[in-house]
Symmetry: C2
Subunit: 196 residues, 2 copies
DNA sequence: TAGAAAATCTAGCAACGCTAGATATGACGG
DNA sequence: CCGTCATATCTAGCGTTGCTAGATTTTCTA
């Protein structure tokens, strides 16, 4: 077996450590946000959480908002996976119903993360080349859902997404009573599945 | 003509002054937010704007968030009026189309105010007795829209609102390309008007 | 016009995001 | 094994924020 030059091994270890710490920061931020709200996610608090001083955080992220953005991207990754799973493993009813339920379940069970995913305004438009692949992946799940069924999958996907997002957001901010949620989803699914 | 006791007249004048100042604060907050974003709406800045020291603001609002809430409520009032107007004076097409266009027009032309209206989580649920009448008024416009047409106007109204809110929010945060907006609205109207 | 009451201001606290400059740690050549 | 140098990390502090206690001024009343 060949032994790589020590310089490389050391550099690799340092890189690993750095990535680990980055992950720790993101995890801590998410955890605090989910329990105590985003206003309690301060740079000082995060530094404390990973047992380093504040300036270390700025070696990983440009600023506090950069941390939020990282959490948001992780959220889009998870959401995308959840939707894909729901789309492929349909339990009962239509795929549309399954995906809708998965989306709302995600938003309801991780409200702080969901908040981060949509609260910050993107600097680059969604369909730009510089858009993180995680975001594109998540949206592609909606596109798949309406592929071939309609003349314009994009428009239908966008509308379906907008409707789900609206429900999630208005529920999270207490505009919608949770009591009618089941009925809402049923009607929503009808709207987007019944033949026109 | 009778001259009321001076005590009353003075008290009235003080009340008027106070209300005027309150209105000034709200107007200034809205103006700054719309031009420079909510992060630039600081208590010091607002105090400066009305030419008083900071503590005066706390005689009008409990805290900074109270100012946001006041702007939000004014927003719901305006939105409600805009929707009512759109519903009653239908220009072309259906009332649903007219209301949808009015809603999105409102959100697009006052993004900061719209942000305030939905960013802050309500302490009391929307259908509570303590809910400000402005919010109820705005939502009632949706209810009117689907009255008698369906078995459950509430559910349909909520879904329609959620869809509009989703479109507005995803457009504001650059998730939706503005290019397809017309087509989106057309399809949305179809979804909610075509007989089922 | 004197004194009470109301209105307003000054000055400061604690916490925030962020950073310059000092200090400690660890890798590498001799 | 050691001295050197780069890298990693910390201490300390700046400017700004929301908010408030206590002093001070203004206004009303009798």
């Amino acid at each position: 077996m060949k032994t790589p030059p020590p310089a490389n091994r050391i550099a690799e270890r340092k890189l690993r450590d750095k990535q680990t710490r980055r992950a720790q920061i993101i995890t801590a931020a998410r955890q605090i946000a989910e329990i105590e709200g985003w206003s309690n996610v301060t740079v000082r608090r995060l530094a404390d959480e990973i047992s380093y001083s504040q300036p270390v955080l700025y070696a990983h992220f440009e600023n506090r908002e950069g941390i939020l953005a990282a959490v948001a991207i992780e959220g889009f990754q998870e959401l995308g996976l959840a939707l894909e799973k729901a789309r492929k493993r349909v339990k009962r009813g239509s795929t549309v119903e399954s995906v809708a339920a998965a989306y709302l379940e995600f938003a309801a069970s991780s409200p702080a993360m969901y908040e981060a995913m949509f609260s910050l305004t993107l600097t680059v438009p969604f369909d730009n080349a510089a858009t993180p692949p995680e975001l594109r992946f998540a949206f592609s799940q909606f596109l798949e859902l309406f592929q071939g069924q309609s003349l314009k999958p994009e428009v239908l996907s966008e509308l379906f997404w907008a409707n789900l997002h609206g429900i999630a957001e208005l529920t999270r901010t207490k505009r919608f009573p949770p009591s009618r949620q089941k009925e809402r989803v049923r009607t929503l699914v009808d709207l987007f599945t019944l033949p026109r």
